[in-house]
C-alpha cells in the first residue's frame, strides 16, 4: 500500500513527532509508514486522514501487489 503521508506532512508543515503525538503512536511508526515498511490499521489510517482534513483514499492507495 502506498501513502502520501510525507507529502501531506510537508504541506501541513508538521514534523513526524507532532503527527505521532496527534494520532497517538510513536515517531518510529510514522517513519516506518512513510518508508512503506508498515501498513497501518484502518483506525490509524482514518486518524491520519482526519489530521490532514482529507479522506483515507486521498492519502492511501492500493498497489498492484496488494
Amino acid at each position: 500500500m502506498k501513502n502520501k503521508i510525507k507529502i501531506e506532512r510537508a504541506k501541513a508543515n508538521i514534523t513526524q513527532a507532532e503527527l505521532a503525538e496527534k494520532v497517538n503512536v510513536s515517531r518510529q511508526t510514522i517513519n516506518a509508514m512513510e518508508l512503506g515498511k508498515y501498513v497501518p490499521s484502518t483506525v490509524l489510517a482514518l486518524k491520519i486522514a482526519k489530521v490532514f482534513g482529507k479522506t483515507v483514499n486521498e492519502i492511501f492507495e492500493l498497489e498492484p501487489s496488494d
Binding site: 514534523t15 513526524q16 497517538n24 503512536v25 510513536s26 515517531r27 518510529q28 511508526t29 517513519n31 516506518a32 518508508l35 515498511k37 508498515y38 497501518p40 490499521s41 483506525v43 490509524l44
Partner: protein, 167 residues
C-alpha cells in the same frame, strides 16, 4: 490501541532485572550443585511426591510416593521456577514505553517466531538427548519459550528503533 492483556509499563524494569538474574541463577545451578552448600529443605504440600512425610517421624523413606500429603523437599528449584515464570510473564507482557499498533505487531510476530523456534529446539532435544541429561533439558524447556521470545522481541525492537528513528 487498547490491549487488555498487557501489564502496565512500570513492571517492565523490575521484572526484567529479576528475570535476567533468575535465568543466570538457573544456568549457574545447572553447572554447580548449589543445594550442597545451602540447605533448602522445607515442608511442602504435595499432590504427588516422593519424600519423607512431615507429620510422621517414623517415615524415613526418601523414595516412597505420597499423595495429597505434606512432605520434605528441596525447594530451591521451586523458588527458581516460580520467579522465572512470574517475572518472565510480567516482562514479556508488560507494555513498552509507547505501546502502539506496530509494537503489537512486532510482539505477535516475535511470539509466533519463538513458538516455532521452541518447537524445533524441543524436537532436537527429544531426539538427541537421553537419560538424566534429557531431564536437565526438560527444565530448560519450561521457560525456553519465554526466553526465546524475549531475545527475538528485544532484537526486533532494537531494529525498529535503529531503522525508523531519524529526524
Amino acid at each position: 490501541m487498547k490491549t487488555s492483556y498487557l501489564f502496565p509499563y512500570r513492571f517492565k524494569k523490575i521484572s526484567g532485572f529479576v528475570f535476567l538474574f533468575v535465568v543466570l541463577l538457573f544456568f549457574a545451578s545447572s553447572c554447580f550443585d548449589i543445594s550442597s552448600y545451602i540447605n533448602f529443605e522445607a515442608p511442602v504440600f504435595a499432590i504427588v511426591g516422593d519424600g519423607r512425610l512431615v507429620f510422621d517421624p517414623n517415615d524415613t523413606s526418601y523414595f516412597k510416593t505420597h499423595y495429597f500429603s505434606f512432605i520434605y523437599n528441596d525447594i530451591f528449584d521451586e523458588i527458581v521456577f516460580c520467579l522465572l515464570i512470574v517475572s518472565g510473564m510480567f516482562y514479556v507482557f508488560s507494555k513498552e514505553k509507547k505501546e502502539d499498533e506496530m509494537i503489537s505487531k512486532i510482539r505477535l510476530e516475535s511470539l509466533v517466531w519463538a513458538t516455532y523456534f521452541n518447537a524445533i529446539v524441543s524436537l532436537v532435544c527429544y531426539l538427541f538427548f537421553y537419560g538424566l541429561n534429557f531431564l536437565y533439558f526438560m527444565n530448560f524447556l519450561v521457560f525456553s519459550n519465554l526466553l526465546f521470545f524475549v531475545i527475538r522481541f528485544k532484537w526486533a525492537i532494537y531494529k525498529y528503533n535503529r531503522d525508523f528513528d531519524e529526524k
